[in-house]
Symmetry: C2
């Protein structure tokens, strides 16, 4: 047993730059230069060092390096729920781009808990991460981000409107939910719908706010009685039970069309419709916000608002990289478009 432990210990003892220096018969400084810049290094030294490093299987300790260089090569990603497909794809795309740039991504989810958010920010700061991608659980917890930015690390916000001082908005990647919602609503109004329900998480965050704005704008510009614009706020998609949708669809003046967010809310709405015997699209038109597997495969297939999650992640990574490099400013915000994917779930309302 202790035998095994010592064996492990032996294996663990890694080669250091000093070992390489000794092996190559040069100084530590030269090894460092040879391995990194390659600048001001003679061919002979470069060759010998490379050979020695290869022979010894030397791999630099990036942890130690970062102590000296004051840069860790890691960026944080703070998100409320990685398991949410909407976030997962963003995280994945961002990670891919960042890793191509040689950066590691640290991920932390906060379950929308402000205290956790602050704890994560503290952890990120203490670990001296180079930068950070954040999608806060609400727009108001800006103290945490301010604090983080005070540490000097660039922060890129994902689809949120975090309050900022003066005229220096946070770098951010935004999705044009307003225009998306407007398009969807206009489409339904055009089909003849007059009572439309918008089911989305509340106004605590930008996406909800923007959708509501676009939703109402469509009613206003079509000169339709705005009383038909039913905004149903959910605190979060988790809380949205089927029951809420049932209640909505049982009203005597029930909506003839529904615009429902994501997977869970949409699922609740669909199930409620099924339970009430409402057929889609004959009795109820449905538009999904966010193009998930569920929307695409459901029968009938659900018309959906789609935006590219990959683009969001990629753009965020790009923005962050640009800040990290510190090269000329460039744009600090990106606004990504939302498309309406027409499928089979919308039809004119049945006269009654």
């Amino acid at each position: 047993m202790s035998n095994m432990l010592t064996r492990v210990a032996e294996i663990v003892s890694r080669m250091t730059i000093r070992d390489v220096a000794r092996e190559a018969g040069v100084s530590v400084g030269s090894v460092s230069r040879a391995l990194n810049g390659g600048k001001n290094v003679s061919a002979r030294v470069a060759r010998d060092v490379a050979a020695a490093a290869e022979k010894l299987g030397y791999q630099p300790d990036l942890q130690a390096r970062s102590l000296r260089t004051r840069t860790t090569g890691m960026v944080g990603c703070l998100v409320s729920d990685v398991a949410n497909p909407l976030y997962a794809s963003i995280v994945q795309a961002a990670e891919a781009r960042l890793r191509d740039a040689g950066l590691l991504m640290v991920v932390a989810n906060t379950a929308n808990d402000p205290a956790r958010e602050r704890a994560v920010v503290a952890a990120f700061r203490s670990r001296r991460l180079d930068g950070m991608l954040v999608a806060p659980g609400s727009d108001e917890n800006d103290r945490a981000w301010r604090e983080l930015a005070a540490g000097g690390a660039p922060v890129v916000i994902l689809d949120r409107d975090v309050p900022h001082e003066e005229d220096t908005p946070w770098p951010a990647v935004l999705v044009d939910h307003r225009e998306g919602a407007r398009t969807a609503t206009r489409y339904l109004i055009g089909l003849g719908h007059r009572r439309i329900a918008l089911l989305t998480p509340g106004a605590r965050m930008r996406p909800g706010r923007e959708r509501i704005a676009g939703f109402k704008a469509a009613f206003a510009e079509a000169d339709v009685d705005p009383a038909g614009a039913l905004v149903c706020l959910q605190e979060s998609s988790m809380d949205f039970a089927q029951g809420d949708a049932l209640e909505l669809l049982r009203r005597d003046q029930r909506p003839t069309a529904i615009i429902a967010l994501g997977t869970r809310i949409l699922a609740g709405a669909l199930r409620a419709a099924r339970d009430l015997g409402l057929s889609i699209p004959a009795d109820l038109s449905v538009i999904a916000v966010g193009d998930t597997d569920l929307a695409a495969v459901h029968s009938p297939a659900i018309t959906a608002l789609r935006w590219s999650l990959e683009d969001v992640g990629r753009a965020a990574a790009e923005l962050l990289l640009q800040r990290l490099r510190g090269t000329g400013e460039g744009p600090s915000r990106a606004l990504l478009p939302v498309d309406l994917v027409l499928r089979e779930s919308c039809a004119p309302p049945t006269a009654k």
Copy 2:
């Protein structure tokens, strides 16, 4: 402009342990002891140091600390596709548990590319991560894990059978796919089905292999003609187009029941069935492998094999933590059960 830069620089210059020492009027060593162990520290020093640290807003540089302590407080998580809901939930649960233990999680996805896997392992090693959770894209790329383990960091495998030397299997969290598939198949056979198709990613990985084994075992133990057991391998769930399912269901001896993995394959199968006018469950029984939103919300609701992704993540984190603490061995493997959730998508085959 340069004004602003200097301002930022000022903010960035962090308090070090030396500043605290000066402020408290004690030595650096005492500060360290006071802030960490608290052992062998007088009440006066403890008080003064705490006050000084508080006043200066001191936060230790974990990066520097880890150079000395040879432990980084970070663990890696290597997975082929974080955007896959099956992985996302696991990652989330593991992250939650690890963060509770004060560890940060670095995530990397490899898109099933062995070269990327090796690159990630190299990066993890160079950054001296304390441990690692891996779900390789195939069971064969074990060179990489072996190399990683040689670095001394514990590795926990997620639902894979990675070849191991001698009698020391890798610590792993496994899901009992074999028993799950057997249960599902037995259920279908019990309903009267004799031609059943199993749609799952290929045998390159444990889950597929185990499912196939369970599937065949059910046929064997029921003494049913094994020719009815149609195993349809997909290289990966991504490649599974609707077309493959169409082809399968158009055969003259088409299966009367399907067991389909996950979201994408299941979606393809469902869409194919719809396009062919096959109604579920009258013409075709369907069982989903993995209980996704799609299965739960589809109409009819799809009977599904379910296992707890959260449990997988949690168990993996627990296993890893136990290794990290190095306290008594404990079990090195966990096998998690799979349940069959009965819904509406299965019925006896129509006589014909």
